[in-house]
């Protein structure tokens, strides 16, 4: 400071025009709270991934391999040949701007490089420089704003890392693209390329390594899985008076049930888990869990196509080993993108399984005849539709509910009506958020695709603002105090999001509300819901 005692008017001398920075300038600032930490070497080693080392994104030297540039370019070439979609997405964007204002990170942060078109341009500029005839012909001359190309430098790698680990692969932008460009796939390729030189994040690779070792994200071993299940069975008995049988690794069961592991150790997921147990007991489904396929989530989706396949293989392998007829899957987001869009191609055909038929209603799930895997919301909606459940929605009367369409079930598998149908059946007060924030246009929680870690908290709050903003609207208009959803990442990351933006709104899974409303044969009079909270309004009504 040249003047230690500035006058007040000097203190408020503020520059009003921010420095205008060309978008092609790749430099980014890694400010704590806005990025994820690097993956630990042990996790890379466990998965056999290259360039395991100690480093952090805010370090000057990222300790890239000496030939990193060639590795990236070779990797890009290989993927351009392997995935026709990738080449197409690199070529056909006309920069119409339809996607520009659709990204939740752009809306919340105002950072232009979060416009999907510009985020993709971070890679397209490299494509133009190195892979188009003009780029190859002109060489470095193609690396000009006019030609739209850029040199691949370490700064570009850092910029890719910053933005490709900021995009949550929610695919909202792709809904609006007239050419059908799926920007999430560009992010996925971007992350694959970064992985080739060891630039990855721990929040993705630790769950992936754990999954590879024990079958679930936390690395819980089979005996730990059994303990968790027993604990839940005991608690459900305390709450309902009914002891359910939740078998593990039981050969010959009709159905294999796979849930995201957060369901049995996180909250509020756990109450949804209790809801599943109550429901499946009540209808007498002949099902079993697997202590090896003890995780539906697949963080390979946030790493590489090869990793998706490796981590997903256990699903069909366990179904085959246990000799089940078909597979039922719990409430999860990206798990369903993998199951619905990749599993059959990568690890199928599951011709040893049968097309799923509900043993309770006889309904044949034609939509799942190839994958042989049914979403529990489809299954439960069918049970309700066929009148197989006795429900007392008044037990959910402490909640005024809205529904957050989780990105993957909504956009990747079109599961829009079933959760709503269930909600309308199990609770009495349900209100939708505004039309352009739900269904296919749903706003992401801001923490998907492996970015829901606490060191990335500020960025998540920015990305989650459009979602929270719509929740605030229904809270103020209808008194909504519960946000229901069907994704394990949502259940983990929406509570802090709402704690920041809309205090007073809680988060629950659909099957928690099903479990509350479900009238079970032989149950004791319920005095609490599955959270152990008293059924206040019901008691008042009876009195």
């Amino acid at each position: 400071m040249s003047n230690p005692n500035p006058k007040p008017e000097e203190l408020v001398q503020i520059g009003y025009q921010p420095p205008s920075k060309d978008w092609m300038d790749p430099s980014v600032e890694f400010r704590k709270g806005t990025f994820c930490y690097s993956a630990l070497p042990k996790n890379l080693n466990y998965l056999g991934l290259p360039n395991a080392r100690e480093w952090q994104p805010f370090d000057e030297d990222w300790k890239l391999p000496p030939d990193w540039k060639q590795i990236i370019l070779d990797g890009m070439k290989e993927r351009l040949e392997k995935y026709r979609s990738f080449r197409l997405f690199m070529d056909i964007c006309v920069r119409c701007g339809a996607c520009a204002d659709k990204c939740h990170f752009y809306l919340g942060s105002g950072d232009p490089k979060n416009m999907p078109v510009l985020r993709a341009e971070l890679m397209r500029s490299i494509y133009r420089r190195y892979f188009t005839p003009a780029g190859r012909l002109l060489g470095p001359l193609a690396a000009t704003p006019l030609a739209g190309g850029r040199e691949l430098t370490e700064d570009v790698v850092k910029e890719w890392f910053y933005y490709f680990y900021q995009c949550t692969e929610c695919r909202r932008c792709s809904v609006f693209c007239p050419y059908g460009i799926d920007t999430a796939e560009i992010t996925m390729i971007g992350r694959e390329l970064l992985n080739l030189i060891g630039c990855n994040i721990n929040w993705v690779l630790e769950p992936a390594a754990n999954c590879f070792r024990t079958g679930n994200h936390l690395g819980i071993q089979p005996h730990g899985f059994k303990d968790s299940l027993d604990f839940a069975v005991d608690e459900l008995e305390e709450l309902t008076g009914i002891r359910v049988d939740a078998s593990i690794n039981r050969k010959g069961a009709e159905v294999l049930f796979i849930v995201p592991s957060a369901d049995y150790f996180g909250t509020p997921h756990y109450y949804t888990f209790l809801g599943y147990l109550a429901l499946l007991h009540e209808i007498g489904l002949d099902y079993t869990f697997s202590a090896f396929a003890s995780e539906g989530g697949n963080f390979g989706l946030f790493n590489s196509h090869e990793m998706i396949k490796r981590l997903n293989a256990k699903v069909y392998a366990e179904a085959r080993r246990l000799g089940v007829k078909w597979i039922l899957g719990g409430e999860c987001g990206h798990m369903w993108r993998v199951l619905h869009q990749y599993m059959d191609t990568m690890n199928g055909p599951a011709d040893f399984l049968e097309a799923p038929v509900s043993p309770v209603t006889g309904t044949r799930f034609e939509n799942a005849r190839s994958t042989k895997m049914v979403h529990i919301c489809e299954f439960t909606a069918d049970l309700i539709h066929e009148g197989k459940l006795r429900l007392d929605p008044a037990r959910n009367n402490r909640w005024t509910v809205t529904f957050h369409d989780s990105c993957n079930p909504a956009r990747a598998m079109g599961l829009l009506e079933e959760p709503r149908y269930i909600l309308r059946s199990v609770c009495q007060r349900f209100h939708e958020m505004p039309e352009n924030t739900i269904r296919e246009q749903t706003f992401c929680c801001g923490s998907g695709s492996g970015l829901g870690t606490d060191e990335n908290f500020e960025m998540r709050m920015r990305g989650g603002l459009p979602r929270a903003n719509a929740v605030r609207y229904v809270k103020e208009k209808y008194g909504v105090n519960l946000l229901a959803c069907i994704c394990a990442i949502d259940k983990a990351t929406l509570p802090p999001l709402l704690e920041y933006w809309v205090p007073g709104v809680e988060v629950a899974g659909i099957h928690e509300l099903v479990g509350n409303a479900l009238v079970m044969r032989g149950e004791k009079p319920r005095s609490t819901d599955l959270r152990g909270e008293p059924l206040v309004e019901l008691e008042a009504a009876h009195a």
Binding site: D101, P434, F457, E499
Partner: protein, 161 residues
């Protein structure tokens, strides 16, 4: 009233300019509050602040308007100084456009708003860190309860929320 409109326009213009140019046009132009939560919140709150500044200085209304702005800016890519700069940007505009006799009072009111905004900024930074800590507790809630680390008290009772 013309003066109020002129002040509002200039002030908003400076608020938008805190954002990159590509974004500023969108924030200023898109009217749908769900497609443009940041822009519509800022626009609405700036209008309220200006009304209160020129009229009654109703504390509750000022507080609510500042709250909605600061909640957003406390987690955007802004230093604390940049996050609250928008209030000080009002001063040169007022100096140009307001009548001399009013200026001293207006200046004092802007200062008061700035102090309120400072409280709110700190409150939201604290809330972000609390929410971040609570998230970690929630993540392994059942494991901890199973192993008895928390005793009988639920995490709500232990002040996690």
């Amino acid at each position: 009233m013309q003066t109020r409109e002129a002040i509002a326009e200039q002030w908003l213009g400076r608020v938008w300019r805190a954002y990159p140019s590509q974004t500023a046009a969108f924030l200023a132009g898109e009217p749908d509050p769900f497609r443009n939560p940041v822009g519509s919140t800022l626009r609405q709150a700036v209008g309220i602040l200006l009304d209160e500044l020129l009229l009654g200085m109703d504390r509750a209304r000022v507080q609510a308007a500042l709250d909605s702005i600061v909640q957003i800016r406390a987690v955007q890519d802004l230093t604390p100084r940049q996050a609250l700069e928008f209030l000080f940007e009002l001063k040169p505009i007022l100096a140009d456009l307001a009548r001399r006799p009013d200026l001293e009072q207006l200046d004092a009111r802007v200062d008061e708003m700035a102090l309120m905004a400072f409280d709110l900024y700190v409150q939201y930074r604290e809330r972000a860190f609390e929410a971040r800590a609570n998230e970690v507790k929630r993540r392994v809630f059942i494991l901890e309860r199973r192993f008895g680390a928390r005793g009988d008290a639920t995490w709500q009772e232990r002040g996690a929320r």
